[in-house]
Amino acid sequence: MEASAPAHPAPASSSPGRASERTRSERRLAWMLCAPAVVAMLAVTAYPIGYAIALSVQEVDLRFPDQGGFVGLDNYRAVLTSDLWWTDIFNTVFILVTTVAIELVLGMAIALVMHRAIFGRGAVRTAVLIPYGIITVVAAFAWQFAFAPETGFVNNLPLVSDEMDWFGGRFSSFAVIIMAEVWKTTPFMALLLLAGLVTIDGQLYEAAKVDGANAWQRFTRITLPLMKPAILVALLFRSLDAFRVFDTIFIMTRGAQDTESVSILGFNQLISRLNLGLGSAVSVLIFFCVFLIAFLFVKGLGARVEEGRPGG
């Protein structure tokens, strides 16, 4: 129901002259097309995060619905002064650093195999996607059963002690958790790195060969420097993912043996103990940590995210 164009142009418009009718209807169409998706995305993120912040400054415990009210930063104080929180931060960062480091090396190796494979590309691709497609919980169970004292086959292996109680100790539990996480997500890392590998011109390697570089030198002086952007993006996405580790730990130890991660802490507070106030404070703090990591990568290391991708 647009009124037909008036004889005089609209005053002080931001674009030179009036935007044409065509442009405006195009814009309207575009916004209409985007609206449903945008609403869906915001509804579950913008609103809840606001709600979470609101909850975090109140005392809300669903077991005691009558108590409640604004408590300011008390919840935050409680979390930040608790040993458990800091232990969990340590655990989470520990897992993050070890898994991402291992995945980078393994993923690079797999990416190289995928790139230079003369044959069997399909087999390698499939092999690489199976960990991606498997449910994380299923993978966690597989690894857990492998290392479990009674049922697992690992203790039967030649170099492993028969009585090793993997889930009885902190760092042995971490070992299994890390192995499972690395298994699950290395393929994705390999794919991200592969995308970077294929952009390198093959002739550069030939020129380097003629210049006198051996295979290792070609890798360190040509491949790695040229892959820096892809590596940074891969590290960024994997770090963000790794910080949110939940499924694997939940299945394997439920957080016992001091292996709890911050996400499990949040879950315990919110869903098990129904303490929404405290749990929300934990959630908000987790959000800030993730934001901090992203900030460090983009600003500090210069990861160029438009060339990267989300998901995984």
Binding site: D201, Q203, L204, E206, A207, A208, K209, V210, D211, G212, A213, N214, Q217, R221, I222, P225, L226
Partner: protein, 401 residues
């Protein structure tokens, strides 16, 4: 600096494709050798085998007398300039040029000295600290050259280094390259598909076709004395004109006239059906040719001019002659390769198109009949099946009837 010898060198790829067949070539120390031929003829493969980027299936490759078949590229002490330059995008010009020296463990001061010297020769001194992405095509090409020069290798191997430059720059760089090579006196092997480049740059030129070396010689030798139809038609621009002819009773019958067959220096005497070749520059407007010359040798004939191209310094006249067509593999190759590029013969049923290069003073005009003359002593006769030049070792043919 060293000589390079290919001794029966062949390359067969995994799928059975034979890219280079039994190639024998001797490149002298300090020589500028050109490998030229249509795409797919094996010239780049041959170059890459010399570099060590392709394995040699059969035969021996010797550099400086040493058999290098199994040596890695870096141990052969050769430098290569790639068609797309292959400059390391993340390194500056200085680092690009110094990379090989750095890998060899040369100390920094020495590297700097050599890089700066090469930069001076190539006029790159102002660009040493820039990255390839910020350079023009011509500058990048020079950096690629610099990378090779800095190493002072036994040989330079260049793979179509000028083909990515625009026409004007290409001509400029050609002269630069020639000058550079004669100054440095390094053995150079240069691959190109452009016969003009081959003719102007090389000390000697090796023409290849379908993996087989056709002929090696100086540009003059290839031009005057081509060994077969392919070489004759490949070298020279516009290309040689071909027409069917018949030899009998010591006479050559061409669509445009007859000549006596000249003396042959040994070898087979051509007879029966042959392919006759005449270069455009050996035609002339009959009115501009002295009577004596006309009588002595050559054929005078009449033709209707289809097209006239006036270049100021030359005049190109296109006309058609009647012919039953020629069946020749080598000719087919040439036609495929150069259609559009030169006035190569178009094998239309019953007709042959001929290009003649005339003096600019000629008055021939389009759609008019003209009297033309061709120097029959420059006639080449080729065997239609093998393409072999039947009239070698002699001037060819004698006076017109």
């Amino acid at each position: 600096m060293a000589e390079i010898e290919l001794d029966g060198v062949s390359k067969v790829f995994d799928d059975g494709y034979e890219a280079v067949k039994d190639m024998d070539l001797e490149i002298r120390d300090g020589e500028f050798m050109i490998l030229v031929g249509p795409s797919g003829c094996g010239k780049s493969t041959a170059l890459r085998m010399i570099a060590g980027l392709e394995d040699i299936t059969r035969g021996e490759l010797r550099i400086g007398g040493q058999v290098v078949n199994d040596l890695a590229p870096k141990d052969r002490d050769v430098a290569m300039v790639f068609q797309n330059y292959a400059l390391y995008p993340h390194m500056t010009v200085r680092e690009n040029m110094g990379f090989s020296l750095q890998l060899a463990g040369v100390d920094k001061a020495e590297i700097n000295r050599k890089v700066e010297e090469a930069a001076r020769i190539l006029d790159l001194s102002d660009h040493l600290d820039r990255k390839p992405a910020n350079l023009s095509g011509g500058q990048r090409q020079r950096v690629a050259m610099g990378r090779a020069i800095v190493r002072d290798p036994k040989a330079f191997l260049l793979d179509e280094p000028l083909s990515n430059l625009d026409a004007k720059l290409r001509v400029q760089m050609r002269t630069e390259l020639a000058r550079l090579q004669s100054k440095l006196e390094t053995t150079t092997v240069y691959v190109t598909h452009d016969q003009t480049e081959a003719m102007t740059l090389g000390d000697r030129v090796a023409v290849m076709r379908a993996g087989v070396l056709q002929q090696v010689g100086t540009p003059g030798e290839l031009y005057d004395d081509p060994r077969n139809l392919f070489v004759a038609g490949f070298i020279g621009s516009p290309a040689m004109n071909f027409m069917p002819a018949e030899v009998s009773d010591g006479r050559v019958k061409l669509p445009i006239g007859e000549v006596a067959l000249g003396e042959q220096d040994g070898g087979a005497v051509p007879s029966g059906r042959v392919v006759a070749g005449l270069r455009p520059e050996h035609f002339e407007d009959a009115s501009l040719v002295g009577d004596e010359l006309k009588r002595e040798r050559g054929i005078e004939f009449e033709a209707e001019i289809d097209l006239v191209e006036s270049l100021g310094s030359d005049l190109y006249a296109y006309f058609r002659i009647a012919s039953e067509g020629i069946e020749s593999e080598q000719l087919a190759d040439l036609v495929n390769e150069s259609i559009g590029e030169t006035g190569a013969a178009n094998l239309v049923e019953g007709e042959e198109q001929i290009v003649a290069r005339l003096e600019p003073a000629s008055k021939v005009r389009r759609r008019e009949r003209a009297r033309l003359w061709v120097d029959a002593s420059r006639l080449h006769l080729f065997d239609p099946e093998s393409g072999e030049n039947l009239s070698r070792g002699g001037a060819g043919v004698g006076a017109a009837v």
